[in-house]
Amino acid sequence: MRRAAALAGALLLAAAPARAESVAPYAIVGDAIPMPLAGAKGDAKRGQAIVGDRQVGLCLLCHPGPFANERAQGTIGPDLRGAGARWSEGQLRLRLVDSQKVNPETIMPPFHRTQGLSRVAGAFRGRPILDAQQIEDAVTYLQTLTD
């Protein structure tokens, strides 16, 4: 019993820092998150790789976008072309982080949230789809898509 309690305590200690770091705190102003997550600076080139990778950003599963080499694009969400003209940096950030904050019924997954989810598969539990740096990279890339 005591051993089990000690083990549980050790697991908690091991898990706690990881969980604290997995999702960055943020403040919503209107329909936007004006400040970069974790103060990270986005990189458009890395963002392009994230958005274009169906296993990482997942974006092209649902959205069409300017990726000539990716033929199996989705048509569920709006075209990513022009996203940088339609939305401000902060609006893009909130729509990536947790789009349900804008539309509770949306099909768009919450890319930077771990709470309030149900029956998450083991390998993904406690982890957001994209970490703070990846969100900032994707936001920076999407801002370049102005037409």
Binding site: R54, L58, L60, L61, C62, R71, A72, Q73, G74, T75, I76, Q100, I107, P109, P110, R113, L117, S118, R119, V120, A121, G122, A123, F124, R127, I129
Partner: protein
Amino acid sequence: MTVLGSRILAGLFGVALAPLAELRAGEIPFAELRSGSELMSPDTRAMQDADSANPGMLWVIEGEALWNAKAGAANLACADCHGAAELAMRGVAARHPAFDAKRNQAVNLAGSIEWCRVERQKAPALTAEGPEALALEAYVARQSRGLSIASTDAALRPLIESGRELYLRRQGQLDLSCAHCHTENWGRKLAGLALSQGHPNGYPLYRLEWQSFGSLERRLRNCLTGMRAEPYPAGASEYLALEAYLKWRAHGMPMESPAVRP
């Protein structure tokens, strides 16, 4: 519509129209139901329609042999009690899941076959979703091809309702419900392929992606994995509830098993 008109219609169909309309609120209207076979390529459709090209027929043929093979301590074949499957099994798959009053529980087609095997043939249960179980199910389901799904048993109502709740529940890291794709966005493309309406009318079926024949439960597990959700354990009651709901939702659609899907 006039009151008289709706009474006449209700009489014709043997149902009370108002409650049915209420139950189907939020569902795809009957007139807009589309089988997955209507959304796939002409090549795949042709493969399904020609027995000589449909890989699922290999399972049907194997199932026919099992139907006629004696098994178990009772030394009985399915055919010894039921006779010719073409007659005895006609429409059976279209009516499952069904409520079994004797056992006071709902059961799907695979479950009914298993019950017969264990209780009547006195044989060990076939491995769930194993090649023999799938073959027998394919052979029985084949006898419903072209017949309309009939989900009319009031005793299934609670199971259908719990299936609908599961269908509408967000799950997994992607926080999606079944309805987000298969009710609200069917026909649009996910990774280049048209989203289906999620109907169960072709199962068990041959899936090109699997390069194999499989059950509806296997397909549901695929979707849950895609949502990055924990699949329910094999044989869990959630699958039966979802199957009962999907069959109810697809009431009236023609059965296509053994179907072919991309």
